[in-house]
Symmetry: C3
Subunit: 349 residues, 3 copies
Amino acid sequence: QSGLIVSGGLDLAVAHYKGEGGGSRTQLISGGNQNSRLNIRGREDLGGGWYAGFELEAGIAADTGAGLASNTNNQVSGIVPAGSGNVPSLTFNRRSIVGIGGEWGELRLGRDYVPSFWPIYLYDPFRTGVGFGGITILGTTVTNLRASNSIGYFTPGCDAVCKGPFAQLMYALGENGSGSAAPDDGRVAGLRLGYGAPTWEVSIARSKTTSAAVADFTQTSGGGFLETKWARLMLLVGENRTGRPVAPLNNGTRAPFWQLGALVYLPVGYVPVAYTRVTRNDPDSSSASKISFGYVYPLSKRTAVYTTYARIANKNALAIPVNVGADSGPTPEAGRGASGWDVGLRLTF
Amino acid sequence: QSGLIVSGGLDLAVAHYKGEGGGSRTQLISGGNQNSRLNIRGREDLGGGWYAGFELEAGIAADTGAGLASNTNNQVSGIVPAGSGNVPSLTFNRRSIVGIGGEWGELRLGRDYVPSFWPIYLYDPFRTGVGFGGITILGTTVTNLRASNSIGYFTPGCDAVCKGPFAQLMYALGENGSGSAAPDDGRVAGLRLGYGAPTWEVSIARSKTTSAAVADFTQTSGGGFLETKWARLMLLVGENRTGRPVAPLNNGTRAPFWQLGALVYLPVGYVPVAYTRVTRNDPDSSSASKISFGYVYPLSKRTAVYTTYARIANKNALAIPVNVGADSGPTPEAGRGASGWDVGLRLTF
Amino acid sequence: QSGLIVSGGLDLAVAHYKGEGGGSRTQLISGGNQNSRLNIRGREDLGGGWYAGFELEAGIAADTGAGLASNTNNQVSGIVPAGSGNVPSLTFNRRSIVGIGGEWGELRLGRDYVPSFWPIYLYDPFRTGVGFGGITILGTTVTNLRASNSIGYFTPGCDAVCKGPFAQLMYALGENGSGSAAPDDGRVAGLRLGYGAPTWEVSIARSKTTSAAVADFTQTSGGGFLETKWARLMLLVGENRTGRPVAPLNNGTRAPFWQLGALVYLPVGYVPVAYTRVTRNDPDSSSASKISFGYVYPLSKRTAVYTTYARIANKNALAIPVNVGADSGPTPEAGRGASGWDVGLRLTF
């Protein structure tokens, strides 16, 4: 045994959601400001600049102690747990990787974030919860955050945050047999390219998931940030695309979005703020705009209290609630608005 | 990372159960003397008397390595895992909380014990297993031990064991939407009040769960203990109440109970002993009496071997087995007796 | 808290499988060379040569972060998770034991390996993955590796590897009630006897599982190894037997097997190699032969890269793929061959 590190973070908030025409809901949510998780990792120096390492990270629904959903084959059939009423137990759904690296970069195997996830995460001042910027990324595919059975390459020193010119490649397997109806279902191929300077970063990424159901799903994202004395300014642009019109998307195939955001530094704490705009090429030319702002007050380096408010205005056929997933609150009627706020406590350990 | 503590306890016993008219069963049971669990917790000093902390605790079915059932919304629909034949995997079903505290007390969010659980636990010499005193608390609700989505307040220094005058408040959310059939289902409100002296404690508690199925469930409990040189003497009284007659309870609505118990200290080890009496206001005026005793022999501060025996006499429509849950052994015929013994090893780490 | 140890191992490989007449499949597999797992254990010195200890070990599907299947009652009804499409979450499926020991040996309770597992593991140069020697042990029962609800005895100092004359006994409970249709279903009784010298070991073991479905399942295994300067030579023999003809086994009742294997030491790394032969007393007198070889190159004491190749030739009614379980690749047509290779990275922590 050597150098095993156990760490994590927990975040719980009281949240209230309203979806016009859909009612309201008061909830305890896990992850109003950061996602709750338990992490186990380690790294071994192999000499000559080489190293080996691993990381296991389990998502935690801290409001109930349960786990979070995962997917084993990058296809709808691989959702964990099966059955719509089932609540997930603990798995290392967030990350399960082993890797080997050196001056040439790092080769990685397992379940990891897809390349096009990182700009959506890094250039969003909220990243999760009520203010979350990636409002259209969910509901369309099981690979917009992570992929199982992946082989990855990263340029040296690169993971989430990278310095200098950098690249991330991913190729993930759906693991269907050669004789199955859709042998390549669940295959993911992705690339992220960027440049990280001390006070700014730019990057662009694309991940394509082979999917018989939607004639392939392509997630594109990019943007950057600029660190100034009084704020971190962020731009995020992207598009989710299916290869054929899909009924749940009102027969749209493309949903481009952009977001302007910032972390505005105050004498104590900071104010995250963002404006997000998404359009969809469905027959109704639907669109939505979201404005989010909050305040994060640090109690220490590792602990903070926070509050967030967001409001989304849907137009035509869109009916996006203010948050995503199980914590999204009531879905508004199509073309109507939704709003929400939270007050929470986050800590890391 | 700072001050992360991993601890826990494991307890396994060979147990034999008999339910008159229902047969017998020999089992390996997890938790004859204490519940098997894995705990991760941490606490950070924030200065000025303030602190932040967290606790995650997973129940373990140590006889099989599986997890234990949980509930995500304090309603029958939130039982984890769904499906009667399913065996649970690991979750932090026992506790999942973050909290912030100071001289004013502690505010806590997450899944935690309901206030009315603590007297049932603290004033029972057995607490779990064959001798368990809270024989009527299970089977009627999903919130008699813990509630998810809870907001809690504790007076300073108070958790399970508290000193001086103390109070615990809990308000937990069922998280149904405003437009659902029963918007408040799963809402829990509870209060515990007491006084803890160096050698004695008294407390009383009540937790009320909003439930459309039974027109609300109310669990009341109270009692105290007195520590003497030769024994810890305990009194536990309480009542489980539904708002309307319920068929599984033979159309009863109230089941008051009381228990006299003691830990009798021997030169080596101690003898837990208890007499429990429960009545139910069903048309048959059913009742049950249980006598339990055992012996716990310490091998070290952290490790002990133990044995327990208990026998319950049911009258009229009651058919309570000698233990609860998956380890209860065969259910006797209504009005008949049940008995059981175990021999086990418990350790903490 | 004292002496809690967290350790484990992760192993991921890219594997390609082919089953003649069944197609091919490329996969990321967890455990090409060793099984991925997370282990928590501890041991307490009780004085006078006595000790108490525990071990919890969770299997990890490192390619997806999910858990691995378990079984709670040593019967088909106890498979975790229930439902064929369900993917398991984390449990301590590999081991969940508490024990107490002294000069007289060790008594152990919980979920543990059956005695007849150990020769199959210890005398196989591959133990898991493409080259795995125990090709016929799976698919017939749920107790060929481990049993839940077990009571075990080991001679002093014995666990997997033992020194001098040694013995392991196991008795495990199915936990059915006395009035059920098959009260003894899932009961396991097993014994392992052997002698471990500094450079060689011999042992023989048998585990019998009471099973109404197959009129009891008996797993017998034995063999030994001899450590020389240039290789560890291994012999494994065994038999799986059912008490009555079973349709999934083409109405066979006995499948004896033998394997010659070796770890051949090179100046750097080693070459595992094995030849395995299994026959089955079905009406077609089916049989299969497998040849496996690989190379393991150490990057450090704890980390290695490896590659494996194996090919199996089935005759008559047998249709064994080259690996077992979820990572077995396509099943060939009866009487035809299958092959596979992998390239992977394993590390321990």
